[in-house]
Structure formats: C-alpha cells, structure tokens
C-alpha cells in the first residue's frame, strides 16, 4: 500500500521521552518463551508436540458455568431478541459513574467474596480499563513524577509499566527471602522505607498483591495488620491489588485489607485503596472490567473523572450487572471455582513432588511458585535463564522465570495451571516427568524443597540503577494475553 514510514533515526517528528525510554517493559530477552509458543503453539489434536502455554495467568476452569448462565439469560445481552430493547439506551449510556446496577453488583460481589466480613459501598466503585487501568489511574491520583511506591518482590512484572510508565513514578522493590517463603516482614518494609527516604526519595505508598502474584499465597491477618499499621504511622498510602481474591482454594482463608482496617487504631481510611478486576476471579480478561475502590472521597471523585480514559463498555456493564446480581449463580460459581482450582493445583503439585520438584505451599491464584534451585549448576540468574530456555525449547513448556518477577533469588519459576484443559495438563506433567527422568539418567542430583544440603550461593539480585530502571526486565507474557510483539509493517 506504499504507506509505512518509520519515524525513527531523527527522520520525521520526534516522540516523547515516555514513548522512547523503554519503560513499557516489553523489550526483554525473555521473548524467547513467547516466540516459541507463538511459533509452535500446542494443540491436542493438531499440534501435540507444540509448546504448552504455562506463562499465562488466566482462569479457564469455569467457562462452562458462565456459558450456561449466558444461555439461560439472553436478556443480559443487548444482542439477543430478548435483550435488544435495551440496545439504544445502553449504547447511549456514557456516564462515568457507570450503570448503578453495575456498581451495585460489583460491590455486592466483592462483599460476597469476603463472606460479608467487609461491606462495599457501590458509590465508591470507580471503573477502569481492567486492573491495568485501575493501577495506573490510582497512581496518577496518589503520586507525582519522581515519587515512589514500594513493592515486595517477587511481584507482578507489569507493575513496572502500570505504576511507572506514564506517571513518572518510581517503583522500589523490597527483596523478600525464600527462607520465610518470600513473605514481606515488617523489618524488611521498615528498612526499605528508611533507605528510600534517606536517599531522598519521596515514598508515597506501598503496593501489595494479595493473594500474591507470583507466589500464590495469601497474607495472614497479623502481617496485614502490621503492614497497615506501618503505612498509617508513616502516613503513606496502602494500595492492595486483590485481583485474585476469589481464587483462594484452601486455607488459610483470605483476609482483605478491608477487613482489618477497623482493627488498626491509627488507620487512616484516606490512605487505603483497593484495585480489583473480574479478569482472574471470573475468567473474563477480555471484558476489561477494572475497579478502583478507595476509602478516600477525593480519590474517588478524581479517579471517577479520570475513568473517562478507560470506562467499561456499557454493553459489558449490563451483562456483568445481570450476571453478578444472580445470587444463585454467584454462590455456585464462588463454590465451584475454588474447588476446581484446588483440584488442578493439587494435581500439579503432587505430580511435581513425586519427581522431586518442590513448590511453595500455595492456597490461591492461578499458578504455583516452583523451586528449581537444585536444577541450577550455579545459583545465578544466568543459570536460571539457561534452565528456562531448556524448559521452553526442550521440554516445550512456557513457564515464567522468577527473575522476570524481580525475584531476588534465582531458581524459581511461576507455573500457571488454570488456563488449560485437563488433557493438556496431563501432557504437561508427562513432559516434566520425562525431563526429570532424563536428567536423573544423565546423573543430575535432585533435592526437595527445604533440603538440608547447603548450596554455595552466588546470588545476583536484581538491582535498580541510578535511573531506577530495572537492569533486567520482565517476562513477555505478563503484559497481556497476546504476544506483545507488535507487528507494524515495514
């Protein structure tokens, strides 16, 4: 078509710093995994030797429940004979408050997930373009360029983009330790905070994902209280990403920050905010249903105005409002989904245990945190990457290396289990067994989690350079379910 011209190399108009500084996080050596998957995607019938996608945190275990509901509720869609009478009013509805029934349904859903231990006010529900949009919008509201948020590491890699890219805000990781299962401790938080402040950084808040991505664990009540107490005392914000709140499948029970606020005497609700989405709990990432829930009235008001940049399609608002207002469906879903997640999780963890691969004891999420330290020749990130390439190319499983989550210790991998059929899971496990058995045969030693043999560790934790840019960037799969490799024509 003779159209394309490239705007680089000083030709044509220049682009902004934001457009060119690479903080979108997608330039990464880890594209191998995505490329490998895209070039050779597994299909049980058509491509049984292809790469199995285990780097995508998606919940596909309960689509049947949702589909059945859709079939039984044609009125929820404005595209059916039963629902089309709503078409023009819905198509015309662009109020950034959102459909009242949508906000009410979301508030009720969030309350139900917490079994009524905390109540959510529909007037505080603010829409956003997925949790991605929620996170960025909230950071715009809470911080100025050069301000910083602390985040316990390992953490969801896209925070690098969501918290930092267009906002100009910094993200400072707090390195957690495998010796206590990577749980953030108060001394670690205090020390990270002091260090940041002493180096002249204006710390605006702490961002937690609870349940944790990539660990698949929940924060216990005491720890959550301690962290909230700390942020309250220091008068900094606490942002809790509770996107996996309904994926908790075994004990301990999920404790939301909303439940402990009243237990912390010095807690200032104006500093507490939750971000949420239906992408994981309900398996609806395509619908872009993000929520900001703030206990700060000013934040609610400003975030609502900012939501103009990322409103939820009114068509989707109506559907979601209908679905989540169906209490019988919600009850069934919230019971069945964790049950299926638990079964799938157990299947994997048991099978891995049988071949000597340990995992962090997880009770939530769509993934588990696998320990392959004993597979590394040396405890270095180079070795981790080497092992990762073997897993992607030889075992043909796309899993996510721990370094892409900023994990300070090499050898850990996040493995997603909820985005595949049972048959595919069996194939994946078969490949892992074959791989381990081959290694045994080749004379490699294996060790279970928490073994008593001390390794000589040469740890190389991720560091931020003086420009606060991570020296290695994130795995390609976490940004979006599609390949982030953008094909613009030359």
């Amino acid at each position: 078509m003779g159209i394309p011209k490239d705007g680089g190399n000083g030709l044509g108009a220049v682009l902004s710093k934001i457009a060119t500084d690479g903080r979108h996080g997608e330039d990464s050596p880890y594209f191998d995994g995505w490329k490998a998957y895209e070039e050779n995607p597994f299909h049980p019938a058509q491509n049984p030797d292809g790469v199995i996608q285990m780097g995508l945190s998606e919940n596909g275990l309960c689509f049947d429940l949702t589909e059945d509901w859709m079939k039984s509720n044609p009125k929820a869609s404005i595209c059916t004979a039963e629902g089309v009478e709503n078409f023009s009013s819905i198509a015309n509805f662009q109020d950034y408050h959102g459909l009242p029934e949508f906000r009410q349904a979301i508030a009720r859903f969030m309350t139900r997930i917490r079994c009524g231990r905390a109540k959510f006010d529909s007037d505080r529900i603010v829409m956003s373009g997925g949790c991605t949009g929620a996170c960025e919008t909230l950071v715009f509201c809470l911080a100025d360029p050069e301000d910083a948020f602390l985040v316990p590491s390992p953490y969801y890699p896209a925070f690098n983009r969501d918290v930092r890219w267009r906002t100009g805000v910094q993200l400072i990781p707090i390195n957690c330790k495998s010796s206590n299962n990577f749980q953030l401790t108060l001394p670690e938080l205090e020390s990270a905070y002091e260090e940041a402040v002493e180096s002249g950084v204006n710390v605006k808040g702490l961002i937690l994902t609870n349940p944790s991505n990539p660990l698949g664990t929940t924060l216990d009540r005491t720890s959550l209280r301690e962290l909230l107490e700390f942020t309250s005392r220091k008068k900094i914000h606490l942002v809790c990403d509770e996107i996996y709140s309904a994926t908790v499948f075994s004990s301990p029970e999920f404790t939301s920050v909303s439940e402990v606020m009243h237990e912390v005497e010095c807690c200032d609700p104006n500093l507490v905010h939750i971000i949420y989405s239906l992408s994981k709990d309900m398996g609806l990432p395509g619908f872009r249903v993000g929520v900001i829930y703030s206990y700060n009235n000013t934040v609610v008001s400003i975030a609502r105005k900012m939501s103009s940049f990322g409103l939820v399609s009114s068509q989707t608002q109506l559907l979601v409002a209908s679905m989540l207002s169906d209490e019988e469906f919600v009850e069934k879903f919230l019971e069945e989904s964790p049950r299926r997640l638990r079964a799938r999780h157990r299947k994997f963890v048991r099978a891995l245990g049988e071949v000597g691969i340990g995992c962090l004891q997880g009770n939530a999420g769509l993934f588990f945190w696998m320990d392959l330290r004993h597979f590394l020749k040396e405890q270095t990130f180079e070795e981790e990457m080497r092992l990762w390439r073997v897993i992607v190319h030889d075992v043909r499983l796309n899993v996510s290396p721990g370094s892409s989550f900023g994990c300070p210790e090499p050898g850990f991998f996040r493995v997603c289990f909820a985005n595949m059929e049972e048959g595919t899971a069996d194939v994946a496990l078969g490949r892992i067994r074959a791989f381990v058995s081959k290694r045994e045969h080749d004379g490699e030693k294996k060790r279970k989690w928490g073994g008593n043999k001390m390794l000589r560790l040469s740890l190389k934790p991720l560091r931020y350079d003086e420009n606060n840019i991570l020296t290695t960037m994130s795995s390609p799969d976490m940004m979006s379910p599609r390949s982030p490799l953008v094909r613009a024509r030359n």
């Binding site: 011209k5 490239d6 044509g12 108009a13 682009l15 399609s313 068509q315 953008v486």
Partner: protein, 339 residues
Amino acid sequence: MASFMEEIRGGRAKFDHERVVITAGATAANELLTFIFADPGDALLVPTPYYPGFDRDLRWRTGVEIVPIHCQSRNNFQITSEALERANEDATTMKLKVKGVLITNPSNPLGATIGRSTLEMILDFVTEKNIHLVSDEIYSGSAFSSEEFVSIAEVLQARGYQGSERVHIVYSLSKDLGLPGFRVGTIYSYNDKVVTTARRMSSFTLISSQTQHLLASMLSDREFTRKYIATNRERLRKRHGKMIDGLRKAGIECLMGNAGLFCWMNLSPLLEEPTTKGELRLWRVLLKEVKLNISPGCSCHCSEPGWFRVCFANMSEETLEVALNRIHSFMNQLKTNCH
C-alpha cells in the same frame, strides 16, 4: 474498523488494519497520542473554537499545554497560515516547545468540514516545523454528504504518502454510529513506532472484547454499513436543515455547516456587552428562562463572544419543535422589549 473508515471516505482512502490501534473511546486516543508526542511542558496547537474536552484529554495527566490557533468569524473560523504562524510564535513567547497540531475535521463545534487546500496548508506547516499532525475525524461519517468531507488520509494518498510518518488519525464510533457507551476509539497512525507504542499503551484502555465482537460483525456487514452511512447522512442533513430554518425564522443566523450533530449559532447581536461576561449572562438566561441547555462559545475557547453550539441530533422531531418554539418566543419577546 479499517474497512468502515474506508467506506465513510467513499473508498477515496485506504486503511491498513495493522495500523489500527484500539482505545476506549477517542478521549483515550487523544490523550494517548499526546503522551507519545509530547513531554510535560510541551505544547500542542489547536484551532479555536475547539471541543472543551480537549482541555482534559490533551492536558490533564500529560502535563502538556494547548496553545490556541485563533480563528475568526470573518472567514468562517477557517484555519489560516497566519493564525498557525501566530500560534507558533505565541508558543515560543511562552517558551513552550510545540510538538504537534491537532485538528478536528469535521469540526466540533463549528459543524463544518475543513477544505482540502486548508488541509494541504496545515500539512505543509507541520512538515516544515517537523511536528506531528493529529486529525480527529470522529464526525467523518456525519458529514451531510460524502463528497464534502476530505480526510487527511486522502491528502496524504495524493502526495504518495510523503511525510505521512507525522500524521495520525483519531476515530470513534460514538458519533457516527451513536454508540458512545461502547467506548470504541481508534488511533490510525502512518508511523510504525507510534503504532507500536500506542498499541502498548492501549493496555490501559482496551475495548471490551464483547463489544469488539459485536462491532466486528456489524461493521463487516457491508450492506448494513452502506445503508446506515447513507441514511445517517440524509437524516442529519434534514434535521440540520430544519434547525437552520427554524433559527432563521426566529432571526438567528448560524455558521454555514455541512457536518456534525450541531449548529454554530451566532447570538452576538443579542449580547448586552461583546464580552465573555455578556455571553455567559445570555447563556444563563437561555438555560434558566428559555430552558435550553446549549454550549457557550467561551467553553470552546472561541475568541469572539456570542457564539453558541446547539446540538440537534439527540432528540425527537417533536422535542426539536418545542425547542425551536421556545427560541422563537424568546426572540419575539426580545423584539417586544426593544420597542
């Protein structure tokens, strides 16, 4: 989206679907492009009067400034090269680095298309200054006749796409298809790097896949889109005609419009004083007494007081009658008061 955009332009321009980046509405598209072109403290030149939402979309979170390109009623508010140069100089005086020009074509609030020669002039200007050009063509399907609307895409095509890497088109289905609730916006860029970057940024503001699916079906139905575009144009033209006639009978003149969902009405003769204050006083009277909500020109940064944007496509025929009657009565009353 690509084929729909082609159809609106009567096939006079081709669009490559690989260059389409989706966003949740044109609101997000305009902000996103601003993030891509400009750093905080930089400026975009925007002809006045302009859509009031630009103050938020282009400036709020981006930290970018808008420097107005002042347009005058004496030449129907068309953009002139003198006005462009003057705006550029204004920016320099304010020590602002200009990163681009943003035009809305057809114009909101003028309700008129930008002529080919003006588009050529603007393209030459941005090329000379090595800056970007964003053409917000959100009302392209609302021009009363297809031939009257010239897209920047056509001008580029005629030039063999020379210099196209600085040009970007914003579109949405909110106006042409009347689907503002669905949040369907697009960026169409001729610049590979901008497409790549915009696509990455669109993660913050994607369109619900449910809605994408519906619209993919709808817009792929060529019979439907052809009929819709033609019928929409015709009905808008008729409604516009009715509005203009009604206003004229009441003694009110409007800018000669040929597109959009509104008229640009001249009430400057009614102002007590030819100032913004006078305009706002009149606006309050129209709102409180005549009970019509219309937009005062100052909210669109119009440099001349007394102009108002009046929307006509968001109501039934009957309601339009009521509105026109009220205007008629109001104008009669004014005449009576004068005597």
